[in-house]
């Protein structure tokens, strides 16, 4: 039995067109885009074509504003540390939120060990930060505001456009971690007003190991990898050309099919939300489904624990993810779920359902049936049902 993948936030399959482009690139044995020879020229053309595709996907003014990286984590590290290092003479204060991805929180934590100070803002029950709080947190020392575009656990989309008006007025660099948004929902860097934005290729069915950083012209940022002159001196190291070619094709497809894809996954998550009360009780939906990512639903299922739900679903052929402490090997339930006010037990019982373009309404209905039986059998075992 082939498992039904409802965990696209963790991994997306490569589209056939992407696979073929990458296999073609492997067979072609490209040269090094930095080499001054015919093989290098050809490689540079392929690299620039991909840059053009990615640039169009996020509506850059100029494709030179794209720097290719090894993925979301490198992009975020580069954005945060690069801006902090380049602007240290102006100040050493960073503003962020309590619900960022680990690549953001840990990059900033590292900077705090180097003498940078941090203000991390709380969010409301839907996971949204108040732009007025961002404005209040800014001091004369602030050099960077980093707020994610969409949350990878609850799907909440942050008011980046409003925040950018504040940072522009105060001449502070705004970075947004848009890894789970780019290629998934329409993104226009000019409309958003971000100065630096991180993204990756896998969320829109491109390969892992390929990502990018949007750096608006004129923004002061240091490289994190030093060495050669690749990526206009912004990121040393020979480019991952095969991955980048796959990323370019995936970007073209995402741009062309954006409306259809959003409508498709939204139809599936809407169906799931509408039918869920007919299958289980005592649950609630985390985040902000009305204004969040169209492909993500986070459900806190009371009295039972996430890893056991996920394991049983896996056994029944349905793949979803959980943020319970047990499943992630951490000591505590997710910081995001705690930040939006869940108690420990409910945070431990949260699963994240993220359908993709290859899923059908039948997948959702089958999943609901499996979930109903699993919730019942786990609740029959649970001592919390007795207390609750």
């Amino acid at each position: 039995m082939t498992a039904v993948n409802l965990d696209h936030i963790s991994a997306n399959p490569l589209l056939l067109e992407v696979q073929e482009a990458m296999i073609g690139a492997i067979r072609k044995n490209y040269g090094n885009p930095s080499s001054q020879n015919a093989a290098g020229e050809e490689a540079l053309e392929a690299l620039d074509a991909a840059r053009q595709s990615v640039s169009q996907l996020i509506h850059c003014k100029n494709e030179k504003e794209i720097v290719f990286t090894s993925g979301g984590t490198e992009s975020v590290n580069h954005a945060i540390k690069g801006v902090a290092f380049a602007n240290a003479d102006k100040g050493k204060h960073i503003v962020t939120t309590n619900v960022e991805h680990g690549s953001v929180t840990k990059s900033i934590k590292r900077l705090s060990q180097l003498g940078y100070s941090v203000t991390s803002l709380s969010v409301d029950a839907k996971g949204r930060v108040d732009p007025a709080e961002v404005e209040k947190a800014i001091t004369d020392e602030t050099i960077l505001v980093s707020v994610m575009h969409s949350n990878n656990e609850i799907g909440t989309i942050q008011p980046i456009e409003e925040i950018s008006k504040i940072t522009k007025a105060r001449k502070i660099i705004l970075h947004s971690d848009a890894v789970d948004s780019v290629g998934v929902v329409p993104i226009d860097v000019q409309k958003l007003g971000v100065d630096v934005m991180s993204f990756a290729s896998n969320p829109y069915y491109g390969p892992t190991g390929a990502g990018g950083l949007y750096i608006r012209r004129g923004v002061g940022i240091w490289p994190i990898l030093d060495g050669g002159v690749q990526e206009r001196n912004k990121r040393a190291g020979s480019e991952n050309l095969i991955g980048i070619i796959g990323m370019g094709v995936a970007a073209d497809l995402a741009a062309t099919h954006m409306d259809q894809r959003v409508a498709h996954v939204k139809q599936l998550t809407d169906l799931f939300l509408k039918e869920l009360p007919n299958y289980i009780d005592d649950y609630y939906i985390n985040g902000d489904p009305e204004n969040g990512l169209p492909n993500l639903v986070s459900v806190a299922i009371k009295y039972i624990e996430g890893e056991s739900i996920v394991l049983m679903l896996d056994d029944d052929g349905y793949i979803v993810s959980t943020r319970s402490a047990c499943a992630t090997g951490s000591l505590r339930a997710s910081h995001v779920l705690m930040s939006i006010g869940l108690d420990h037990a409910d945070a431990q019982g949260t699963i994240v359902v993220t359908p993709g373009i290859e899923n059908s309404p039948e997948d959702i209905m089958g999943f609901l049936k499996a979930l109903k039986n699993i919730v019942k059998s786990l609740r029959d075992i649970s001592p919390l049902c007795r207390i609750g």
Binding site: T105, M312, A325, C326, T328, G329, L331, H344, P383, L384
Partner: protein, 172 residues
Amino acid sequence: MMYSKAVMDHFRNPRNVGVIEDPDGVGEVGNPICGDMMTIYLKIEDDRVKDIKFQTFGCGSAIAVSSMLTEMAQGKSLEEAKKITNKDVAKALEGLPKNKMHCSNLGADALHLAIKDYEDKKAGIKRPEPDPQDEEFEQKHCENLLCPYCDAQISEDVNFCKACQSELEESH
């Protein structure tokens, strides 16, 4: 992470699930903060485990551990049951993943508490029961944060256990 066949069997088909009405002994360990909580109920006759049932909130291995423990303790004399260790249960389950050894392998502790509860009741000793919903209890529990790999006490803001050199992930 892969569980053994025995773990998956006990997880999917847990034995002795439920509550014993009017039990002779009850033992409860863990807390939802850590992600695992187990309750063991005992019926004792002639100093033997006549009936044993469990309820567990927790991950796959926590449920499998509880189920396996009840099978191991069923019919045993109290002295034999007291000798069952968490390690014995893990061994009977063909091993548990390293990071599950501490947090979800609490079955024997719950059993020993249940036996102690029976013995205390018999001797007329009253034990104050902690209220798991009590905030103070939760805070106290938070202070005793243990490394999931080696049981060493650690503080909340570390992401590396010095005792066993394990990375403690906050998120993926």
